[in-house]
Symmetry: C3
Subunit: 309 residues, 3 copies
């Protein structure tokens, strides 16, 4: 019996393969309209965004409201008591008295774990620092499963910023449960950190590091693109060196050797790395991926709040 | 049979005389309390304000909630993915997956049309750049009709900033359907642009351009004041030259030769152009005008969402 | 018969002893779950925060939603029409047409009274300038009554910034109805202003001014701590002189001579004045105090909106 009631969702690493598949299954039923009645009526979500993130904030807010619940919160640091010198721990210990569940977005690694340790209501990590963003990973997994019919034995390429790209790290960890063959495609300066590779090795994942997409493109079932995040670079010169190094477009895809049913995912927002011409190709599924944020987050909210047993 | 179901509301120019009158009629019934039950229950509005506008944002939000619907969104550019370099097109293509209808406020002309072309859900223009603000025009028309009993054959003066004042432009266009006599009263530097006048001429509108209000005041049924918008001037010296050039007050009205039933409208906010002493005169209807934002926007939301056929 | 229907809540001084006790009694029943159904369904609160205050804003918002009502508003000056030069009076006269009740937070003293005088719907003061914050005082009184079983004849110490600390001023006034013995403990530069003391004298309150907590600690039933608010000092040097002058911790409490059932309150946020080690002592009730914001604000909203007679 799998239950998430009153549990925190901090890291994708906390979930077993069985739990992941169960959550994706409920998400599918949620998308198909089952249980979309007012199962969260009377519940209040505190959406605490110490760092702006329109997409994540709005999708949690919409998910909660579509299930009959309500939402309070803030969308940036500037309007919080943090600017008066209040600690994160104090802020969340006060807010736990107002609401039934917290979604936290914070600029510091570990902020979600600290919050979960400080309060007695469940906490969902909406992204903390360059670290974890587990609900995005559930969205990514949901999209892959939907497009490919399953998660087992896929060849997946991770493209772009693999050094700071937390969504790529989390997805790689999650797919290590499913026998994936992984290709890490990045410039030398943005390679995936060693400790992630060591963790994948300990899980017997077969992986390859390359610089050129064309070298491995024909092998891929999934290409997971990431934005090279300007805000994670301390030196703008380093950013300028790598921005736009991989720029996908319809023309580029026409020249690449790829499987006909290759699907391209991206957590969005994109900047230079994918041209709008790509959007109308059969490869592009990133907008559908973004839209899947609703059924997946509905599911997580409903399960944690005990409305789905 | 007039229906707005699934239509976009981008410009007042897209509406026929019959459609305008129909919408005003439903708005009247909405104000009188008909249909104010939960006809939008289960619907979610995305209120996307890339530029602050308390009045427009709060009135849409209130209208939606008063009809049982719910609202998500943001109120300024700073908390959006635009600051990460995301295009408007991408932002709205993602958000369309969350909600049932979009209200957009943007600082660029044409942003609403671009949004409507990018998404498959209906879009309402909440003001884009110095261009269109159609729901304000419906509010203005509603107020005039309520105060005057009808819209036909009125003499209307437009006062103040007629160069940048988009609400004046839109209202002039709309009233061209109803045989209005128009007086454009402004300093030379803020005259109404030529292409608007040419459009009015092609619609056989009789108009006059003057600098002095007293010259034409006795003829007016309606005086539509506008704020001289500091934020539209690139040179502050140009702004200082014209601010406060027309300053209405009770004392000024006492000296002017005007019809007893003259009504003064203003889209608000006001700064220097109308003194608080004017508020208690029989001419002032601008606060009632602002309050009419609720029934009018309720009507537009309900019609576009198909809750009123 | 006590009724708050359609009344404004501007200052704790407007309430009689009987009204205060009645409100606290209803708050207790509210906390115990009575009347927590949808008694405010169809009502809209405008939460107008011209100055950020997460705690007050979120607790009003949560209280309203938990009673079935809805909320619109803003959380900072920057997104309002004030930046376009609009007066507070105009802003609230417009917004009164949208909603059923206003909660106002403003940086200027007297802003709530001005608002109440300008609109015909009820107004609750959510804190204006360094002046009044009456709902915080109700929360403080509620907590004291809950912890002590009653409000009569208590010895209470006020610690820290008694010059700018409006919550301390309001609580002292309120407790003057109940025969309290008061100890004002502060550095010379942050003593309670003379006119407050004169008012207390006229109410026959017995009080003492001291600099050292240890001098009077053994007498206290309640210790009310305040944050030394950096933002109220015009000179940062003055702030640095007094910050951290009273720093409570478990170790400090172990050395102080205090009653076993002493309770420490704080309106929060705290910065330097109370160490986290204090949180697990039996004295600390400030988080419970913060959580009481919900039943107390539910009560005030419901009474003013006539849902509780």
């Amino acid at each position: 019996m799998i239950s998430l009631e009153n549990k925190d969702i901090i890291s994708i690493l906390d979930f077993t393969k069985e739990e992941i598949l169960y959550i994706l299954d409920i998400s599918k039923r949620m998308e198909e309209g089952e249980g979309s009645s007012e199962i969260l009526k009377g519940k209040v979500l505190a959406n605490l965004f110490f760092e702006p993130s329109t997409r994540t904030r709005l999708s949690f807010e919409t998910a909660m409201k579509r299930l009959g619940g309500d939402v309070v919160g803030f969308d940036e640091l500037g309007t919080t008591s943090t600017v008066k010198g209040e600690s994160l721990r104090d802020s969340v210990k006060i807010i736990e008295g107002y609401c039934d569940i917290i979604v936290l977005r914070h600029f510091l690694e570990g902020a979600s774990r600290l919050t979960a340790d400080s309060v007695s209501i469940p906490v969902i990590n909406g992204g903390d620092g360059a670290s974890q963003h587990p609900t995005q990973t559930f969205v990514d997994l949901y999209t892959i499963k939907k497009e490919k019919g399953g998660l087992e034995n896929l060849s997946i390429g991770f493209l772009g910023d693999l050094k700071y790209g937390r969504t790529a790290h989390s997805l790689a960890y999650a797919l290590s449960n499913f026998g994936a063959e992984m290709y890490f495609i990045s410039p030398p300066s943005l390679r995936i950190p060693k400790d992630y590779l060591e963790e994948l090795e300990s899980r017997n994942v077969s992986y390859h590091e390359v610089e050129s997409l064309s070298e491995v493109s024909s092998k891929l079932d999934i290409l997971y693109c990431t934005r090279i995040q300007k805000e994670r670079f301390s030196d703008p010169v380093d950013y300028e060196k790598v921005r736009g190094i991989y720029k996908l477009s319809k023309a580029v895809m026409d020249e690449l050797n790829v499987k006909e049913d290759l699907k391209i995912l991206h957590p969005l927002p994109r900047v230079d790395e994918m041209d709008e011409s790509l959007d109308d190709t059969s490869y592009a599924v990133y907008f559908q991926q973004a839209h899947s944020g609703i059924p997946v987050r509905k599911t997580l909210l409903a399960m944690v709040l005990g409305a789905i047993k």
